[in-house]
């Protein structure tokens, strides 16, 4: 059961796109962060059940967030949504504990497909 969601992206438009694409069954509060530091504050304060995370961000990037969560042994499922589509970016993110990687621009249904595959729906 997903009780709260965190969407992290420095672009307001991207956050809106992600929120609009969330499964309608998730009638849960959505928290938003525009950089990695804000994201970690929300993780500590609100304990979201799933995180949608961009990689290229100011202050602290997505790799930094994943590394911090790994260090804290925080097992919250993280789905990376990034424009950095290099194989190495994917491997680094998965290596740091991301559960899935969606490439930008997202296709319709990408988020739904991934959360279903991860058993979050």
């Amino acid at each position: 059961m997903i009780k709260s969601i965190l969407v992290v992206d420095d672009s307001k438009m991207s956050r809106k796109l992600v929120i609009r694409a969330l499964p309608e069954e998730w009638d849960s509060p959505v928290h938003q962060a525009s950089n990695g530091l804000e994201a970690l504050d929300i993780v500590h304060d609100k304990s979201p059940d799933v995180i949608f995370l961009d990689l290229t961000m100011p202050e602290l990037d997505g790799f930094g967030v994943l590394a911090a969560l790994q260090k804290e042994e925080n097992k919250v499922p993280v789905i990376v949504i990034s424009a950095d589509v290099q194989t190495e970016a994917y491997e680094r993110a998965i290596g740091l504990g991301a559960r899935a990687f969606i490439q930008k621009p997202m296709g319709p249904g990408d988020i739904r497909k991934v959360v279903q595959e991860l058993g979050l729906l």
Binding site: M13, T56, A83, Q86, K104
Partner: protein
Amino acid sequence: MTRLKDQFNEDRRDALQEVVNIAMGQAGDSLAKLFGTFVELSIPKFHLCDVTELNQVLSKNDAYVEKMTILRQPFSGQLRGEGIALFNNSGVNELASLMGYEGEVTFGNEREMLLDVCSILVGACLNGVASQLEISLSYTAPTIITKDTTIEEFFKPESIQWRYAMIMEICLTLEQYDFTSNMLLFLSEDSFPPLMDKLDHMLDEL
């Protein structure tokens, strides 16, 4: 100019920055495949200025202090302008090993490498922008404008054909190599209305 800056409100800037970010992700991937190494991408920086302010805007970036090789790739269609690729001189020297050249690098080899990289970088970025905005663009072959020059020496307002510059500034660096490339996208004044229409269309769909 103030009116133009006002028209580019926060939402439009954010949307354009994200469009360029996604396009640069694709350009970075193309370069990573060519070089066989990870390409670190910066967050695109957006500037809208009169060309007389160009040096002042760009001088805030320390990367532009050193001497560079500068290439240009014009584009036209529903948007008109040019992509400018800037390579630090030490990075140009690294290109040969990155691209698998062995032995002495001739003037011709170096020229060919620079044009190839510029074409991939600017072409992939503009293709990414065009496909997201659902517009068509055509490209002119890239050319090397100058070598061993600084930004300040190069961007003299009288030598720029545009009155206003909308600059998307993006930096790519390669791990383990002293290679940095900055890309600037300039748009003509008559491109602003269609661009804003396209961005508004994207924003309306949210």
